[in-house]
């Protein structure tokens, strides 16, 4: 019998030409269906409001307002994904935001100039306040995480207790009065014309972003080739690259179409001896700091979730807690870290909220937990555990905020907004459940 190894190589016949369905083509790009669907949904929502408002909705200023309003929720939702994936919940996030925001305000208006003797011109005073606030968020998260992971009290109970007790504690800071007047540098975190990175920096971000996307695609392809894994077809790579780069430059373009208000620009011009041209001086504001913060946090958290062992262990525990234990993973420390992480994220969101308000009131952060959980769930995170993505949650936050902002814009009052938000939530979860039933 002929040894097959010695047989002359035969021409490998090309597979018969099939009519490849659209679905197959999309699968080849390896795009996450759900994320893509959400992007489409967001676009549709924005278009609907544009028509409803008589054509005034889709303006750069409005889009940036929307983005800034969503930023606090979006930041926290990245951490909530990990908490829910590992079969827990954190109901205290709104209260942590509140107490940290009040801490920033009290530090900068009272404790620092008074007790600590740091006057207004103390170098980086705002940064120190920010650091202390983040430390507080971390500490609260660690405490709750410890009770949940090591003492074994269910997270629902612990964080519900946290929600109540921390919200109550805020009252003692100022007997309920609003505290205002933060450091100017700190206020920039809240956005606005001066709280944006400016035109040039925004283009730089676009360049860096495009370069990063291309580098990632290239690196991925190189890895696959190295191990002999199947490659994406070139047209798919090109498509992904184009879409990514287009998105990044589109974002930068929108941000730079947002200009400083006339009065502010003229004051700046006079102060810097710049002649004011006909029609006014157009200074592009660029990306607001809150949006930059969201982007940075989302990238960092995605990296942690997919590229770090900690992230892998969070998902493994969510998928099968016993398997994680038997694999030798320190599951308790992993769980505790998820709560510490979300504590820090709450502190960041608290900084954004306090900076936007230039102060703090008793009710900052109230009901955040509902919006954060909604964002994560709309973004595809499942309460069964083990499933959920961070980009999905960030998108979810923007989708929910787009709806809220849009309804407010066209004049639907807040009860109506709540009704719609609830329906959207149910639809999103229902869609997931239906999809899973189909076995995809």
């Amino acid at each position: 019998m002929t040894n097959l190894a010695d047989a002359p190589p035969q021409a490998v016949s090309a597979p018969p030409r099939q009519r490849r369905s659209f679905r197959d083509l999309v699968l080849q790009t390896e795009i996450n269906f759900r994320l893509f669907g959400m992007l489409v949904a967001l676009a549709v929502i924005l278009l609907v409001f544009h028509v409803w408002s008589g054509g005034t909705f889709l303006r750069p200023e409005n889009m940036l307002s929307l983005a800034v309003q969503a930023s606090g929720i979006a930041v926290i939702s990245t951490g909530m994904v990990l908490v829910i994936v590992s079969r827990n919940i954190d109901l205290s996030v709104g209260s942590i935001v509140g107490i940290v925001a009040m801490t920033y305000a009290v530090l900068m208006t009272d404790v620092m100039p008074g007790l600590l003797g740091m006057a207004g011109d103390f170098p980086f005073r705002w940064l120190i306040a920010l650091g202390l606030g983040m430390g507080l968020g971390l500490a609260v998260g660690a405490l709750q995480g410890f009770i949940i992971a090591y003492i074994g009290v269910p997270s629902f109970i612990v964080t519900l207790g946290g929600l109540l007790s921390i919200r109550g504690a805020i009252w003692y800071f100022s007997r309920g009065a609003a505290v205002s007047g933060l450091d100017e540098d700190f206020q920039l975190i809240g956005g606005g014309a001066e709280g944006s990175i400016g035109g040039t920096a925004t283009w730089v971000v676009a360049v860096l972003g495009s370069a990063a996307i291309l580098a990632l695609l290239y690196y991925n392809r190189r890895q696959r080739r190295r191990y002999g894994f199947p490659l994406r077809p070139i047209w798919a790579e090109t498509l992904l690259a184009s879409l990514g780069v287009l998105f990044v430059w589109g974002l930068a373009w929108v941000a730079n179409r947002n200009f400083w208000p006339r009065g502010l620009a003229e004051a700046y011009a006079r102060a810097n001896n710049i002649p004011i041209p006909e029609g006014g001086l157009l200074i592009p504001a660029g990306l607001p700091y809150p949006v930059v913060i969201v982007i940075a946090v989302a990238l960092l958290m995605t990296w942690i979730a997919t590229r770090r062992r900690f992230g892998r262990y969070v998902y493994a525990y969510g998928g099968n807690p016993e398997a994680a234990e038997l694999a030798g993973i320190n599951t308790r420390w992993t769980i505790m870290k998820t709560f510490m992480l979300i504590g820090i994220l709450c502190a960041i969101a608290g900084a954004i909220a306090a900076a936007r308000l230039n102060g703090a009131t008793l009710d900052i952060g109230v009901s955040y937990e509902l919006y954060v959980i909604a964002a994560a769930v709309v973004g595809g995170t499942s309460f069964a555990g083990g499933i959920g993505t961070i980009p999905g949650a960030v998108l979810g936050a923007f989708v929910m905020q787009a709806i809220a902002y849009g309804l407010s814009y066209v004049g639907v009052n807040s009860p109506g907004q709540n009704v719609v938000a609830g329906i959207v939530l149910i639809l999103a979860v229902g869609f997931d459940a239906w999809n899973r039933r189909r076995g995809t």
Partner: protein
């Protein structure tokens, strides 16, 4: 109780009378007041398969969990290659070369095959990040040995068939150069073709000098693959028989009655024979 002499093994596999790979002495395990394993001693040599059988609640899985670190023993001694060891968690067991394929497989459903194979022992890049490509590559290589027809390296394991999931569990166990392998009901959920495959793998591992504890409720399976058979009854070891020195009926009798065949009264024998 006398332990039967092992039948002559292939010369390439083991030196005559080496120190046993695993020695478990006077193991006691209690679960909340119930004594699941009572003063049990058992050995395993390199290149040998010891079948562990018994009825439900006999304590087989519990005994193995003491060895694998999933549920440490309350008292007793475990020696690996003659050295006493304290096995308090799965990590330590794995460090000693003890790998387990659990009855439930202990796979994380939402993670793909390479992720599961390397769970807890991920390959990292110099930066400390997970190297998914390297892990996928290594998994593909092992899988050629375990199940050459395996595809679906990128799918979450929940969408794989029972046999494929079993293959992932086996791949995980053998990739890390196990010296001792604990297999808890490896063929329970498998069809005939896949069962044959698993038997092949076990034979291969035997030849490589791996010692295997095999828990199974299928007497014929155990009989075919094992060298010795240990029977447990309500947490105690009834006896260990050399496969060649007993019949399946003898084994069945031990499982059901909890006594060695020679200890059975005439009446009990009659009951057994029906």
């Amino acid at each position: 109780m006398a332990v039967a002499e092992p039948a002559s093994t292939p010369a390439s596999a083991a030196v005559a009378h080496p120190a046993p790979l695993v020695e478990m002495r006077n193991i006691n395990v209690s679960y909340g007041g119930v004594r699941a394993v009572i003063d049990l001693s058992i050995d395993l040599s390199a290149g040998e398969v010891v079948g562990l059988v018994g009825g439900n609640g006999a304590g087989k899985s519990t005994l193995m969990k003491a060895l694998s670190g999933a549920h440490p023993a309350d008292s007793g001694e475990i020696r690996i290659n003659g050295q006493p060891q304290t096995i308090t968690n799965p990590r330590i067991a794995k460090g000693l070369g003890i790998e387990t394929i659990y009855q439930t497989l202990a796979l994380a459903d939402n993670i793909d095959a390479p992720g599961n194979v390397f769970l807890g022992r991920e390959v990292t890049t110099p930066l400390g990040t997970i190297d998914d490509s390297a892990m996928e590559d290594a998994t593909r290589k092992i899988m050629k040995r375990v199940n050459p027809h395996f595809t679906g390296f990128k799918k979450p394991v929940v969408s794989l068939s029972g046999g494929q999931r079993q293959a992932v569990a086996i791949a995980r166990a053998i990739h890390f150069n196990a010296r001792v392998l604990i297999m808890d009901e490896p063929t329970a959920a498998l069809g005939p073709a896949e069962t044959a495959q698993v038997r092949e793998q076990i034979k291969q591992l035997k030849n490589e000098g791996v010692g295997i504890f095999l828990i199974s409720h299928d007497i014929h399976d155990v009989y075919d693959i094992s060298d010795r058979i240990s029977v447990m009854f309500h947490g105690e070891l009834v006896g260990t028989l050399d496969k060649h020195a007993c019949t399946t009926d003898d084994v069945l009798a031990m499982i059901i009655m909890g006594k060695r065949p020679e200890q059975l009264s005439r009446q009990e024998l009659a009951e057994l024979r029906g």
